[in-house]
Subunit: 389 residues, 2 copies
Amino acid sequence: MRNFTFECATKIVFGKGTQAQAGPLAAAYGKHALLVYGGGSIKKSGLYDEVVRSLHDAGVAVTELPGVQANPRVSLVREGIAASRRDGVDFVLAVGGGSVIDTAKAVAEGVPYDGDVWDFFCGKAKIEKMLPVGTVLTIPAAGSESSDSNVITNEETHEKNGSASPMMRPVFSILNPELTYTLPPYQTACGCMDIMAHVMERYFTNEPHVELTDRLCTAILRTVLNNLPVVMRQPDDYDARAQIMWAGTIGQNGLVGTGREEDWANHVIEHQLSGFYDIAHGAGLSITFPAWMRYVAQSNPGKLFQFSTEVLGVEGDHYNPEHTVREGIDRFERVLRDSGLPTHLSEAGIGDERFEEMALRCTGGGVRTIGAYVPLGKSDIVNILRLAL
Amino acid sequence: MRNFTFECATKIVFGKGTQAQAGPLAAAYGKHALLVYGGGSIKKSGLYDEVVRSLHDAGVAVTELPGVQANPRVSLVREGIAASRRDGVDFVLAVGGGSVIDTAKAVAEGVPYDGDVWDFFCGKAKIEKMLPVGTVLTIPAAGSESSDSNVITNEETHEKNGSASPMMRPVFSILNPELTYTLPPYQTACGCMDIMAHVMERYFTNEPHVELTDRLCTAILRTVLNNLPVVMRQPDDYDARAQIMWAGTIGQNGLVGTGREEDWANHVIEHQLSGFYDIAHGAGLSITFPAWMRYVAQSNPGKLFQFSTEVLGVEGDHYNPEHTVREGIDRFERVLRDSGLPTHLSEAGIGDERFEEMALRCTGGGVRTIGAYVPLGKSDIVNILRLAL
């Protein structure tokens, strides 16, 4: 087990009706909020009205930044920074999913900074100061509601980069599972895949003696695997939605990565897929992970055997461990397919035309490896993509 | 699953050699620290010198408050408050286990308060302001290193009461498993029992649909059960010590209680045992828990069955569930006994003379019940103590 530092100060306010607390919570941090959101769904559901009323009742003035899209753009972040400076915004409230929260975080980075906000995403500047950010989460997936990082796309340079700082954790996040009832089934499934991916990127490690965090990972993965089929059948099952929502936060706040070397190869590969093709992040991960597992199992099967037995409940066959691993991956893939997720590139209409190009980009032109459980070079990535065809 | 609020901002600095960071961490919060510790063990081990040097190098002045005992006393807390005011202390650093940390928290409550500090422990005053507290943990047990509460004994009135506030969580805690190598085996085992007790007080609930937190509880319990025998054999096994130490913090920071009704009957009963008899808290819990389990299993076996199968690994016999439960409790008790803990009152030289008196005190004179999984009246408590004879 490695030395580590862990700190996650985000106040979680969880449960039915909790969005009514947005105003009082925001008022503890600011007098003028930038309200960041996406499209019409929070207006249709009435959530927009509830939050605006709550802010108003708490005496918090509001400037709006609507229009956040998936793969959120730096141009909108710049708009939000300009509007915040113009109106004297001192607090940023995100109402939505990961893209909305990541945009809110980026605005909060940019407002007190003299240069261009993209400096934080290309390594030119370090975050020294940020506005406080709060969130009302509507999509359990990215974990941005208590994580210390965000991802923003520069639509001019076609880069999708992250920034991170301990200061970036939201000061509070409101999680009401009821708000997730109306998520389309495909988006629900993509979110669950994203949640599991965050845990698996940490679970698959060569670091020995990490029993506690292994078991915590297993707890989260089994919970999501158990509850995903439930919400696919019954979208308004409060308790199943609640398990998934809380799992999504705990799985990405850094706790389950403490003391470990993490992997993140699948995220690197998936960022290429969603960069080149119009595919949801969760769907991309649902395609890369089974293929990645089959590939790395050839050289490093140990943790796959553990994953198959402890997470997927396969009876461990120590005489033929490769059977156990195969069955584990098959079962995992079956849960994903049963939830309507693609597990092969062909289902998303993606062929092998750009495998080389994507593998080159993943590896900085073929000079770097990605991942830690099995370090992957350019040809490994091409092989994994072939397995995913 | 219930609505909840969860917030734990304590910065955890975990691993080998981390005590060297005490000074720089403290300097971020104050210029003059009250150094709270117990007896000679931290002087013998060299930890005292390391911490004092680190504070000195970071430019932090030091006032000392040594002499904290088990069941820490309010008289020493008052001494610490007076010394802090005299010297202009603005930060409290605890170096030790739960008693030391609880004393440090109480001093931090009392310094900015006009009245007597015991007011916070008898419900006369509410905490409005506190000095920041940091810790260097040497005994994994109480979980006070990131919890929002403390327990102090008033030696004049023979009361052992708690106080709590979100402000009470330490701003940082340094956890170096190496510092626990020299703990006596009995104290190690008592600490593990205390850690498990904090989790079990939350695990045993009637709240339905708490799969995620049930699984997190199971993860922590299995980890402690697995690693306790290892450190009994090999006290300087870093990785086993590390699993236990991190489990102790996560198990008591409130995370695994989120969304649940908690129980805490065993803690109430044990406080009477350690109040009347000279018995370690963990040893008291090791006596009450198996008896409590056997007693409540008669009326509410459900969670005991789950505990037996998921935590203790008993094969679930759905035709004779009582066999499964009995085997689970037996196995649990066996781990405790194998670690040198008492599981019966007679082993601690305790007879049935004061059962009525203790049961009356637990229940406010027989008018209240304690616990939630099975609410226990006075006669239930006497019955449990009889089972523990």
